[in-house]
Symmetry: C2
Subunit: 350 residues, 2 copies
């Protein structure tokens, strides 16, 4: 969100209720609308505004355009004790993936570990939403998704894989699980948009321009670079194979954008997994070890201006606490868009 | 290996037989010596000389010093349909991890996916050795291990986690599986050693010196940096939790070096996994999709001087083909050390 615009602060419950009602009026069954609205507002609470209520508009446009099925018949088949096939029936990615992770955690409780492949899906928001669900059930949770092509493979000049994010959560004794939700590119696409809005240049290792040279202005960006060169390239490939090929959807080049065409489904694949801690360790002993690791990390010397080493997901947990108390800041552009959506469906924006 | 030294070329089979005989004389049962020698020479064949026969000396020193148990009683307990506990009984990491992956692949064939936690282990060589074994059984294979502390967490100035490598392999229709075997640091420790031997400076984002400033000379390196900042930090943490805490061994700070003390075991933990393709897709259809993905990658434009986009593991597969035909180059320093080890046990180096 651009800093030159005014912001309003909305209580999370009010914002979530608004999004719920819009989804509901848009044709989602109540239980689906609950999950989708909670997933979006949870992203805002954690400070991941790029994946929060700003996505309500394209979701609604896709529902109205016929691209997204508002009332999907989600099926979950257990092909083996530890393998699940989930069909999202062209609905919102959030609804199918939430159901998939729930079933995966249940299967992992029986077998020790389980994975679900999700097909015929659309944009699923943040991976962290599902991995944290698994962590609440004392599992190490994993989630990934493919994305339309916007990252060059190492050594290449054309985009092939997408930012293909990879997320995991690890249960702790603290108030939040350790959580990493990372694009396999140097930066997520959202950081380019932020730089563009703020009129900033970007570091020359983030992206390339049309001719394959380093892009230093956001408007010249043709494709992103993988994080760590061959490492991010390889991880992005893994995410695509697990998300797109285990599900039979195809890799990133076959995935449609959330924005370009509202009349056809994106045909995204996801992959989620859960490793049940109790199949390997006594859970309290494991969490006590995690706490000892955290204490060790907190004791080490830090760079200038850094108070202490943060855990993956700790800044997001702090933001969540703050925004839960103070409300979620919504920029005027997003606020206006939400207002328009509300008007369309006769739902009042707080 | 330094370029100013002379090299000899040894046929892979001769080198492997030599290593086998040294291990055998060192007290390893024949079947264990076969696995350990094959794992080391396979690393050399793939061009990963830092994890090849150069490690024979510290392994032998640890066996002689009492740190490594040459004849371990490796146990494999299946705590659940998809979870295995492997005790390496302080033997070589290669022997226990090879057995663990074999059992994991068998379990995954029954359930769809399985993982093994390996405790009381030592240095296991390359992750790729085990992940490629899984890929040969039409699984996506994963392997990881913790390592003594030598990488700073993001924002920190002291090492906490190790280079904690993470590997995976994906089966293909080609002559080799897609394979990534990556340190979660910007570079593996071996690259610092190579720069030191060659008298080169290093880029300022690889490592820090004692005061926490960027190290540009190899001899000033106090600790490595995680790849992609918070991303590599988070992945290294995940590797440590899965390797060290699911096994009950503890995290990197509790892992001993392979070199510092030959009288006590390293107390390393590993974690391997297999996802059985057939639980999710028809295997030939999956491999055909993989081939189509590869063709897509090969078609894209490349940077100057790069002929085509390479798959993860493709350069190593090419090196393997070349070295299988022409022999493995061994620098004079390593050759002399191997010769000394051979003399100690009455085994002739070819």
């Amino acid at each position: 969100m651009s800093k030159q615009h005014e912001e309003v602060q909305l209580p999370a419950e009010d914002l979530e209720q608004f999004v719920f009602e819009v989804f509901s009026e848009g044709g989602l069954p109540d239980d689906h609308a609950r999950i989708a609205s909670n997933a979006l507002v949870t992203a805002n609470l954690r400070g991941v505004d790029s994946h929060g209520v700003v996505r309500l508009e394209p979701y609604i446009e896709n529902i109205e355009g016929g691209g997204f099925n508002p009332d999907p018949d989600i099926t979950i088949d257990r092909s083996g004790p530890s393998s699940l096939h989930v069909d999202a029936d062209d609905g919102l990615g959030q609804v199918a993936t939430d159901a998939a992770m729930e079933a995966t955690v249940e299967a992992a409780a029986e077998t020790g570990a389980a994975f679900a492949s999700i097909r015929n899906s659309n944009h699923f928001g943040t991976a962290a939403y599902y991995t944290q669900k698994a962590a609440r059930a004392d599992c190490i949770g994993f989630a990934m998704t493919n994305v339309g092509p916007n990252v060059v493979p190492f050594g290449g000049l054309d985009p092939f894989f997408g930012t293909n994010p990879l997320g995991f959560s690890i249960p702790t004794q603290r108030s939040f699980p350790i959580t990493l939700d990372m694009a396999t590119s140097v930066v997520a696409k959202g950081k380019i948009h932020v730089a563009e809005e703020e009129g900033d240049s970007i570091p020359d290792d983030w992206a390339i321009d049309e001719s394959g040279q380093p892009a230093t202005e956001p408007e010249d960006v043709e494709a992103l670079r993988p994080v760590g060169g061959p490492k991010g390239y390889g991880l992005g490939l893994l995410v695509d194979v697990c998300s797109g090929l285990l599900s039979g959807m195809g890799t990133s080049p076959e995935v449609d954008s959330l924005y370009d065409d509202y009349t056809s489904p994106q045909r995204v694949g996801h992959f989620v997994g859960a490793i049940d801690i109790s199949a390997f360790r006594d859970v309290p002993a494991f969490k006590s070890d995690i706490d000892q690791m955290i204490e060790g990390l907190k004791e080490i010397r830090t760079s200038d201006g850094i108070e202490e080493v943060k855990l993956p997901g700790e800044i997001e947990a702090e933001t969540r606490e703050k925004r839960s108390a103070e409300g979620i800041p919504i920029g005027s552009g997003v606020y206006d868009t939400l207002g328009d959506l509300g008007e369309r469906y006769g739902v009042e924006l707080p």
